[in-house]
């Protein structure tokens, strides 16, 4: 072989890699969660509705649920709130909220004003639980199965499309209430 073809032989695979890179670029800012397939981390946090009560992750086992990280300071959370209410109305699986780095009074007012899609909201002031879930911005939402394993993670807002195309298909029909 003409050894002067060597540079070309290096160039071609490089172009392929770059092309693949462009193709996958839109997914670039979504860093894959290492928690997929692993147990959802445990926590024991105060309930937003009643500070005397504690919400335990263990209590939530046994059914499919969505774990949604939000805060009143978060613009994206405000934007996705409509979809969360829609999910609540669909009544397929409950929403558990994690109020992250927020003010309790403001959070309660927010839910009263905008509607409360959550079955229960746990309050994380210190941020430790969020760290355990590998949260690095809000909103983020985790789909968790009855065995307590994380099946899917949405980084960013849950839109109607994400709900119907990514989340719903992952929940088996048998889990739907009334079936």
């Amino acid at each position: 072989m003409n050894r002067f073809l060597l540079p070309m032989a290096v160039f071609v695979p490089l172009v392929v890699v770059l092309a693949v890179g462009i193709y996958r670029a839109p997914q670039k800012d979504i860093i894959a969660s290492p928690l997929i397939g692993k147990p959802a981390p445990d926590f024991a946090l105060p309930d937003l509705a009643d500070a005397a009560r504690t919400v335990h992750a263990a209590d939530l086992k046994g059914r499919w649920y969505l774990f949604n990280v939000w805060g009143t300071w978060c613009g994206g959370c405000r934007a996705e709130h409509e979809t969360l209410l829609e999910i609540r109305r669909a009544n397929v699986l409950p929403l558990v909220g994690l109020d992250w780095k927020d003010d309790d009074a403001q959070a309660r007012a927010w839910l009263t004003q905008l509607g409360n899609p959550y079955a229960v909201v746990a309050v994380d002031h210190a941020g430790r639980t969020a760290i355990d879930y590998g949260v690095y911005g809000a909103p983020e939402t985790f789909l968790i199965n009855p065995q307590g394993l994380v099946v899917y993670k949405v980084v960013g807002e849950v839109t109607h499309d994400v709900w119907t195309r990514e989340i719903l298909p992952r929940v088996p029909r048998a889990a739907f209430p009334g079936t």
Binding site: N2, P7, M8, F11, V15, G21, I22, A25
Partner: protein, 652 residues
């Protein structure tokens, strides 16, 4: 009205670039003299059109024309005039226009200088440059039009990113791009030689000044960026191995290899195909850099807004240009053999080593920069690469390079005869070692193992470079500019290594929480926090602190770091206060309000950091001096006969 004129000018520029490319390449190939004669007017016309377009955009900025989308996104009525002009290259579309302008300017320069080159060869060079211009103009018009209108016009602009509102920004992109784009000239010379099917020592001699000049600009551009990061970003860092920084560093490394390889081809007619390949590689890396910054494939603080469509266009352009050049290379390179020989210890060997180490350094930076991309594409998972990878791997090639440099300078062509210089080399090494030890243990008290090694190598390069020139000066002999330039550049390199070693080893950094009136001491200096006060500027307000620095009771400086909140973009910017004292850089940055009058404050003492950029400037000056040597100017009458001294060359 003016923006439309600008757009029209760009379209004309595209047409003229197309003509320049066509006539430049087809003319010589088909022997059409009239076509060849049309090339230079096309070059001039293209430059005028591009300059007109830039002028129109500048007018839109200066006149606060917020009906132009680009102006509305990057400017504001409260923005000072100076920054309204520099905002032109503050984002993707405008910076691309700057690139095109500089390419057109280089092309004009080459057209003027090429008056002394053989007509067909010159036409081909300009033709290849025309192809590059055409590609970039097409890219701009198709995906990145800076003259798009907003309807209805914006009331006011979104303001220039506050980080970019700095004098260094005014010069960093133009100078950097001048270097980046300048490698297109070497690329064009290489392609022209391949198209013509002839590459000889004269070709190398013609190419050298262009390449060295581009290299000099790139050196300055990179140094300016680093300097700006240090003064602007507030963390006292000056190099982050950020993908965009690496994108400019890789062409620089290969460009350095290229100027040395050209020296061997010029002198001995050796390494022709290797030099060709380096010329292609240097510009390819420039183009790759453009791709990386604008396509969104890599995460970086610097990157322009990501757009996959742009990425695809640039990639296609890359494939055509570089693929074409590499195909030419595979076709022509086999014919470029030389039968010149040299000894193991000859200068040629050292320059080969130089090339090897520089290219591997570039390959390493390349691997680290693209690793996340490669790993992701091959489904190997997400990978992240930072300074902890780049620093050690870079030193792996750079330490041997520095160690071989003094030997290479004293080795003769063809036969080396290093033994003649053995005494000189040993003496200079001893001197360097003494200097290093004095630096490490005399002036500063500590350091890692590599510290004296780095300092010694830098000092050895300086001393070894000075020996012959000083000797010639002493004997009243003249020194050619080429040699003088080389000496100055190598001294710059030595200084840079000494500076970098000092900074990496002897930096002192501490973050403290201080209340008003409290002080802390660091490296012999006392820093007293004298409280904060509100500040206001033309388009920002914020808080400024006063820190009084003393040394042993004697006043040294009063530093005023600030935190600014820009009105339009609501962005918080930290402005560090920096003071030079006895070769040390004292850096103070304001952190957070901790309540009750206490603030967190960062103090950094960095010895010799300014020397880094000074040394880079010295390197660039050396390059400029070398490039100006008359030796490199072609003879008045273009040579048609075979060249003397080019024996052993195969006819093509």
């Amino acid at each position: 009205m003016l923006p439309e004129l600008g757009l029209f000018a760009l379209v004309l520029a595209l047409l003229l670039a197309g003509l320049q490319a066509f006539f430049g390449i087809a003319g010589p190939a088909l022997g059409r003299e009239r076509w060849i004669a049309a090339v230079t007017p096309a070059v001039a016309g293209q430059f005028v059109m591009v300059a007109t377009a830039v002028g129109c955009l500048a007018a839109a900025f200066i006149g606060d024309d917020f009906s132009v989308r680009y102006v509305a996104s990057n400017s504001n009525s409260a923005l000072p005039l100076f920054y309204r002009v520099t905002a032109l290259w503050g984002a993707h579309e405008g910076s691309l226009l700057l690139w095109i302008l500089l390419l057109a300017a280089w092309t004009v320069a080459v057209a003027v200088g090429a008056a002394r080159l053989p007509r067909h060869f010159a036409a081909r060079v300009l033709g290849v440059l025309g192809v590059v211009s055409f590609g970039f103009l097409l890219f701009t018009l198709a995906t990145s039009n800076p003259f798009l209108r907003l309807d209805p016009p914006a009331g006011d602009g979104a303001d220039l990113n506050p980080i970019l509102q700095d004098p260094a920004l005014a010069v960093h992109p133009p100078i950097l791009y001048t270097g980046y784009v300048g490698f297109a000239v070497a690329f064009a010379f290489a392609c022209a030689a391949m198209l013509e099917g002839r590459l000889d020592q004269e070709w190398a001699r013609w190419t050298r000044p262009w390449t060295t000049t581009a290299w000099g600009f790139l050196t300055c551009g990179i140094a300016l960026g680093s300097f700006w990061a240090y003064y602007e970003l507030g963390w006292g860092g000056f190099w982050f191995w950020d993908p965009v920084e690496n994108a400019s560093f890789m062409p620089w490394l290969v460009g350095t290899a290229l100027i040395h390889s050209l020296a061997v081809t010029d002198k001995r007619g050796l390494f022709k195909s290797w030099t060709l390949l380096l010329a292609i590689l240097a510009f390819s890396l420039s183009m790759l850099g453009t791709f990386l910054v604008r396509s969104g494939v890599l995460v970086s603080v610097h990157s322009f807004a990501a757009d996959p469509a742009r990425g695809i266009f640039i990639l296609a352009f890359l494939v055509l240009m570089i693929g074409g050049a590499l195909a030419l290379y595979a076709w022509r390179a086999p014919l470029l053999k030389s039968t010149a020989g040299f000894e193991f210890g000859a200068r040629e060997s050292f320059l080969l080593f130089n090339n090897l180490l520089l290219v591997i350094a570039a390959a390493t930076v390349f691997a680290g920069t693209l690793a996340p991309l490669i790993s992701d594409a091959l489904k190997l998972g997400t990978l992240s690469v930072g300074a902890p990878y780049f620093n050690p791997t870079f030193m792996l090639t750079m330490l041997p390079l520095m160690a071989l440099l003094p030997l290479g300078i004293h080795a003769g062509w063809k036969r080396g005869r290093l033994s003649d210089s053995a005494r000189t080399l040993l003496l200079t090494l001893a001197g360097a070692a003494i200097f290093a030890l004095a630096l490490c243990f005399g002036i500063f008290a500590h350091g890692a193992v590599l510290t004296p090694v780095g300092a010694a190598l830098g000092a050895w390069v300086i001393l070894a470079s000075l020996v012959d020139p000083l000797d010639r000066w002493r004997r009243g002999l003249s020194l050619s500019r080429a040699v003088l330039g080389m000496t100055v550049a190598h001294i710059g390199l030595g200084l840079a290594v000494i500076a970098l070693t000092s900074v990496e080893s002897f930096t002192f950094e501490r973050d403290v929480a201080l209340g008003s009136g409290a002080s802390t001491s660091a490296a012999g200096y006392e820093f007293r926090f004298d409280g904060v006060a509100p500040i206001e500027g033309p388009n920002y307000d914020g808080v400024g602190a006063t820190i009084t620095v003393t040394r042993g009771g004697a006043p040294v400086a009063v530093l005023k770091p600030q935190k600014r909140q820009y009105w339009v973009q609501h962005q918080l910017t930290t402005v560090t206060a920096i003071h030079m004292s006895r070769g040390n850089n004292l850096l103070v940055a304001l952190g957070d309000d901790l309540g009750a009058g206490r603030w967190s404050i960062r103090i950094q003492i960095r010895p010799l950091v300014t020397l880094i950029w000074l040394a880079a400037l010295i390197m660039a000056i050396g390059g400029a001096v070398a490039a100006s040597d008359r030796r490199y100017r072609p003879a008045r009458a273009p040579a048609a006969a075979p060249l003397p001294g080019a024996a052993g060359e195969q006819p093509t």
